[in-house]
């Protein structure tokens, strides 16, 4: 389970910034990091300083930040390992790893200091198509409801399952996902009725 959106930082300079300013700032920093060449590790000092400053200003507890970073790190490590085949393998590997970790830190700080409502308003102002915005809003609204449902179904099934084994687990989990699909479709029908009941075309 990776769901931990109900995470709140204490108010800080960064959390008080407008979402659009934060997003623009994050994108500029990310682009800056992305355009740094591999193999020149000294240049990394600049984004390290910038990112640390952002982390300090956001009042992010360092241990929490590290824990979240480590949770998201595995793919970055695996992908970084692919550059080991370059002539400058090790330098490139470490540079890439640091670059991706710094970028991840920036994204983590952005999402932890910006409530979903603000992010959603930003997407709306960016003129995303209406159907995509509706989908994102409903996704966020029902994600937690469905995640709870998954947990309950899994527990209920596990409680009646006495054999063990990988094959059984696959059948069990697929059954849970299948049931969840049906329940989601049925809920969509009820949500549509509720929307129509309050005047939606």
């Amino acid at each position: 389970m990776r769901l931990q959106a109900s995470f709140h930082l204490p108010p800080s300079i960064i959390s008080r910034l407008q979402a659009s300013v934060k997003a623009a700032g994050a994108l500029v920093i990310l682009l800056g990091i992305a355009s740094l060449p591999l193999g020149v590790p000294l240049l990394l000092i600049v984004p390290v300083v910038v990112t640390s400053a952002a982390a300090l200003l956001s009042r992010f507890p360092p241990v929490t930040l590290l824990r979240r970073l480590l949770m998201l790190e595995p793919f970055a490590v695996a992908a970084s390992a692919l550059v080991l085949f370059r002539p400058d393998g090790w330098t490139a590997f470490w540079t890439l790893l640091v670059k991706s970790s710094l970028s991840l830190t920036i994204v983590i700080i952005f999402s932890a200091t910006t409530p979903f409502g603000d992010i959603f308003m930003l997407l709306r102002r960016l003129k995303l198509p209406g159907i995509l915005l509706t989908t994102i809003a409903l996704l966020y609204r029902y994600l937690f409801v469905l995640a709870d449902q998954v947990e309950r179904m899994r527990r209920a099934r596990a409680g009646r399952t006495f054999a063990k084994g990988r094959r059984l687990a696959w059948f069990l989990n697929s059954g849970v996902i299948g049931h969840l699909a049906v329940r989601s479709v049925e809920r969509a029908e009820r949500v549509y009725a509720a929307m129509r009941a309050r005047g939606w075309e």
């Binding site: 979903f116 409502g117 509720a194 129509r196 009941a197 005047g199």
Partner: protein
């Protein structure tokens, strides 16, 4: 006294052929609070969806439901939706917006009201249900009772003349139940409450309609109808405790 709602020989078959309503007839007067009781699968929820025009999917040849004399049909759907507010059984179905404010504002903004007007309506509706200052809360973080009350605020914000409530007290703890009961009792609108919570019916409703297998089985005052133990048991219900204590001997 004028009629708020009239239902005459309402029939409905689900697309899979199952006959859910087999000729339901009743009427509700202005300002009345009517209880709708009956066992699971009696057709209560299906009936409620007809009262606000969500069913049938396509127009029947003859109208069977009238709201203040207006026959319910596809082309009058908008007007019917506004006049009849429907509270759904599962608050998670009805609270589909990311924040409480947006959810309560959903109906009014569909009706084409101005931004300031919508805001005022949202505030007053939340005040009515006792949830002032909840505008920016997320539905996921609300308790069951709070969710139900936000749903009610969303319905009230459309300023309906008739309230139709599907199991308003299900899944609530006793305190939330009590609070909601007081809230519903204080509303001026005409109310139709479908529920298994017979104590709620005894306390709020002047009249009760008993439905089973898609038909109206009995109709009468709450005391007389719910106090009839044989009738109750025959239709999967039981005489509420509150009436047991008032037994004649």
């Amino acid at each position: 006294m004028s009629m708020a709602l009239q239902v005459r020989d309402l029939r409905y078959c689900y697309p899979d052929g199952k006959e859910a309503l087999k000729g339901v007839t009743f009427a509700v007067e202005d300002g009345e609070c009517v209880g709708l009781v009956g066992p699971n699968g009696a057709g209560k929820s299906t009936l409620l969806l007809h009262l606000n025009g969500l069913l049938p999917e396509t127009d029947a040849p003859l109208p069977a439901v009238w709201v203040r004399g207006i026959p319910v049909s596809r082309d009058r759907a908008r007007e019917i939706h506004r006049r009849v507010g429907l509270l759904f059984q599962d608050p998670d179905d009805q609270l589909f917006c990311p924040t409480v404010f947006e959810d309560v504002a959903f109906g009014p903004s569909q009706l084409g009201l101005g931004e300031q007007e919508v805001k005022t309506l949202v505030e007053s509706s939340l005040r009515t249900v006792g949830l002032e200052g909840f505008e920016h809360r997320m539905p996921h973080h609300l308790s069951g009772g709070e969710k139900r009350r936000v749903c009610l605020a969303g319905v009230l914000a459309c300023r309906p003349e008739i309230l139709v409530l599907d199991e308003p007290t299900s899944d609530l703890d006793p305190r939330a139940k009590r609070e909601l009961k007081a809230l519903l009792g204080g509303l001026p609108a005409t109310r139709i409450i479908a529920t298994h919570d017979l104590e709620l019916v005894v306390e709020l409703c002047s009249r009760v309609i008993l439905i089973d297998e898609g038909r109206v089985v009995a109709e009468g005052s709450a005391g007389a109808l719910l106090g009839d133990e044989t009738l109750m048991l025959a239709h999967g219900l039981e005489k509420p405790h509150i009436l047991r204590h008032r037994h004649p001997h």
